[in-house]
């Protein structure tokens, strides 16, 4: 039946004394009429595709427009110099977010999460944990169920496409999904997962979709970093005992409200915002 509210998932978790992952898994089995094993196998295939994409980054590649490429390699090299402000894990997250965003722009194979433009956010926070053996394969899979369950509610209550609701709907949703997954991995309660989703989404409300020349490159690649770091800070706030003042489902509704009121020039048409700056226009003209 799939869920229309995060609260419905939280209530089911509490009533049945099950965790967020179990509820989403059971729902998928019902929804698609498959066994738990079949559902998990499908998610594991996605995990494999995600890991393959993360580890097949090519720092030499440039996108067809030549606007993006190589930054993931730069960030990774800088991480090893240990000179920046952010710690090693955070810098690895940043490198992964850039790399996945660039791979997407360079026509490599990625896993949309929830969209291609925002495909770097979730793997950016998860892959370094896996890489450092802080979580195992089963935990990765469980975290992906949690993220997908959250995304499904956002998609049914609001939207997950930049063309429909601006970048808050893409990077915002991806960040909220990742935040919930991170809280889950630290054994946070379903209610805490909901709070992390709310806080992450609130932080990115109103974000416009204004890609230069209409291409999923500028600012998309770097916004994947923002989405990943916002997910981490939201998760940590919740784990510290901080709550969201506005309940999660109301936050999702607020995103919908803002997206509906957003001008069409800010919804993936490449006509407003950064795309309409003098440099943005020049970059576009240089393409043709």
């Amino acid at each position: 039946m799939s869920f229309g509210a995060i609260k419905d998932i939280i209530d089911l978790c509490e009533k049945n004394e099950k965790n967020f992952y179990q509820i989403i898994l059971e729902d998928d089995c019902k929804e698609r009429d498959v066994t738990k094993e079949a559902s998990q196998e499908k998610m594991t295939q996605l995990l494999d595709a995600m890991l393959l994409a993360a580890f097949s980054y090519d720092a030499e590649l440039l996108s067809a427009s030549k606007m993006v490429g190589g930054d993931g390699g730069r960030m990774e090299a800088f991480r090893h110099e240990q000179k920046g402000y952010c710690g090693d894990y955070i810098q690895e997250v940043m490198a992964h977010a850039l790399q996945m965003g660039e791979s997407n722009a360079c026509m490599k194979r990625i896993v949309a999460a929830p969209t291609a433009g925002s495909c770097g956010v979730l793997p950016a926070v998860l892959v370094p944990l896996f890489h450092r053996q802080l979580i195992d394969q089963q935990e990765m899979v469980e975290a992906m169920y949690v993220a997908a369950g959250i995304g499904q509610v956002i998609a049914s209550r609001a939207f997950i496409a930049g063309a429909a609701g601006g970048c808050q709907a893409e990077i915002g949703s991806a960040s909220a999904m990742a935040a919930g997954a991170l809280v889950y991995l630290k054994n946070g309660s379903a209610k805490q997962i909901g709070d992390a989703v709310a806080i992450a989404l609130k932080g990115l409300l109103g974000l416009a979709c204004d890609p230069v020349a209409g291409l999923v490159e500028v600012p998309c690649v770097k916004r994947n970093v923002v989405g990943a770091l916002n997910a981490l800070s939201s998760a940590d706030m919740v784990l510290a005992g901080i709550k969201s003042a506005i309940p999660v489902d109301e936050v999702i509704d607020a995103m919908k409200d803002i997206g509906m009121k957003m001008d069409v020039s800010l919804k993936e048409t490449g006509k407003g915002g950064l795309a309409a700056t003098p440099t943005g226009k020049k970059l576009k003209d240089d393409l043709v």
């Binding site: 698609r32 194979r109 896993v111 949309a112 499904q152 291409l215």
Partner: protein, 222 residues
């Protein structure tokens, strides 16, 4: 919408609408042609024409026409592959003010001379809509098994097709009937919940008054 519409598809970037959807448009066109295509003329409209190059929309459509899926890592190299397979193509642009912003019109020629003209659009998230076939509105998504019947515009054909399907226990999910004013023929488009057996399709093709039958099955491996 299930959770694998949220995580996934696994696809070659950069855009689910301009790349993955474009692959599917090519792939559905190839399937509807019913044989290996050897030549194509592709006209891009709207945002496909404006931003298609940067999104690899051109490569994506050719990849689909050559039978590749949305996650095929050979998509970036598809122009070379087309050349090796001696597949000829040309691109142009077209103005279609009434159409969805991401639309392509494709003329396709098969190896035994079959021809197809298709107009299709990419709706976002990799989903597509086939708008017209040979100039007639069809409006199907390619998410269900789809049967397209060109027949002479005379009574009885709807009954023939629907009774054949119920005889084969195939449930009709959605049906449309459109008439071509010039040719005096009609096009039936049926989306079904179950695949249609191939013998039923060839039986249909031989009935009197039926001009052409095309079948698209999304679950069939290419």
């Amino acid at each position: 919408m299930n959770i694998f519409d949220i995580l996934g598809p696994v696809m070659v970037g950069p855009s689910s609408s301009h790349t993955a959807g474009a692959v599917r448009i090519g792939f559905v066109s190839r399937t509807l042609l019913g044989e290996k295509p050897v030549k194509a003329r592709i006209l891009l409209a709207g945002s496909f024409a404006d931003t298609g190059k940067g999104h690899g929309t051109d490569k994506a459509i050719i990849a689909g026409l050559l039978g590749m899926d949305t996650d095929d890592i050979n998509i970036p190299d598809v122009f070379d592959i087309a050349q090796k397979q001696n597949f000829k193509y040309e691109f142009g642009t077209i103005q279609l003010p009434q159409a969805h912003p991401n639309t392509a019109v494709i003329n396709l020629w098969g190896k035994s001379g079959k021809e197809l003209n298709i107009q299709a659009s990419s709706l976002g998230g990799g989903r597509i809509m086939v708008d017209k076939i040979d100039g007639i509105d069809v409006n199907f998504t390619g998410e269900y098994p789809t049967l397209i019947v060109h027949n002479q515009d005379q009574p009885g054909h709807v009954a023939e097709v629907t009774s054949m399907l119920s005889h084969k226990s195939v449930n009709i999910a959605n049906m449309q009937l459109n008439r071509d004013k010039k040719g005096g023929y009609a096009v039936m488009v049926l989306e079904t919940d179950q695949p249609i057996p191939s013998e039923a399709i060839s039986w249909l093709a031989h009935l009197e008054g039926i001009i052409k039958v095309t079948y698209y099955n999304p679950t069939e491996v290419k």
